[in-house]
Subunit: 193 residues, 2 copies
């Protein structure tokens, strides 16, 4: 793995692999396709595209655009394709997970039960919503993209999202139950013996 090339660079390379795109396009595509497990900001995309074309991994072509600003459309080069394949071939390195909600619960106590419950319910709702969103995307994908050779891979990542959200929903339900049980056994304010 070459030094100075971050995962963002490979992500960009990957999207250019689908076809020529501008920085703006890449951002939109990220939002529509991999948002649930990846993100990129313009502040990352534009400087990287510049650097990558200087390194010969992509080539830019400026498209004049009536009224709207010009578009700089980048295409991946053979060298870029090779670098992408190299990256794909190397084992993915696990990124350190940091989960603030878990940290708060870890430090929590009976005093914070009301707040914990609120947070768990919010989290549950978020992931329940994601879950149904994923199901919609899935059926949409299966119909609109039926013959695309990469469809199975996209569905795999979706499946991951579904399972993760389902696991979180289940965990929230269980934890909410536990918290309620806990505070009914020894209530915060009024305690009847």
């Amino acid at each position: 793995m070459k030094k100075g090339s971050s995962a963002s660079q490979y992500a960009i390379l990957g999207f250019l692999g689908f076809g020529p795109m501008s920085g703006y396009d890449i951002k939109q595509t990220v939002e529509r396709s991999v948002r649930h497990f990846w993100n990129e900001s313009y502040g990352q995309i534009y400087p990287l595209l510049k650097r990558m074309s200087a390194e010969g991994l992509a080539v830019a072509k400026t498209e004049r655009n009536h009224g709207k600003p010009d578009r700089k459309v980048y295409s991946i080069t053979p060298k870029g394709k090779k670098q992408l394949q190299d990256w794909l071939a190397h084992p993915a390195k696990a990124q350190p997970s940091r989960n603030e909600l878990l940290l708060k619960i870890f430090f929590s106590g009976k005093e914070n039960s009301a707040n914990d419950l609120r947070q768990l319910e919010r989290t549950r709702a978020e992931h329940a919503a994601l879950l149904s969103e994923y199901l919609n995307i899935e059926s949409d994908l299966r119909h609109r993209r039926a013959p695309h050779p990469q469809l199975p891979y996209w569905l795999m990542t979706l499946d991951f999202g579904k399972r993760r959200s389902q696991a979180i929903v289940d965990w929230c339900d269980q934890s909410i139950k536990t918290l309620r049980h806990l505070s009914s056994k020894s209530p915060n304010k009024k305690r009847r013996n």
Copy 2:
């Protein structure tokens, strides 16, 4: 939420809430207790402790230590306790997830099947190992820490880890099956029609 105070600071405050600790102790404790959803480096801990004691959130006491280097043991102050409680009361902000493995699979195709399978099997093994580690920790905790008032909260975070790893194992199994099926339908090298 005060500006300039990162989640790391609250994590440190949280651990000091369990009792006086040195920077070294905090690091060890993080490793032993919340490693599966949180991490801190010395390069983060020591400067923060310094700053926090300057801000009156903690107080340091130097312990002379025969032979070994001196220990600077920090205790949380009432002001620190208050700030910790404030943080606990605010909803946890979701940290942007970035999953390299999913990204690679998203960009993958039949050409990379062999490599994908290797990575999925590795990931599966990792999380299967974590899973049994969690189960050990759990029974250990239930016995050794049986009467601790915060035990239920620790178990909740463990439960999260268990469910997450189980979901990942399941997803790996499913994805491996899908990949094998895929390459048996249209093999990479030799194709019989």
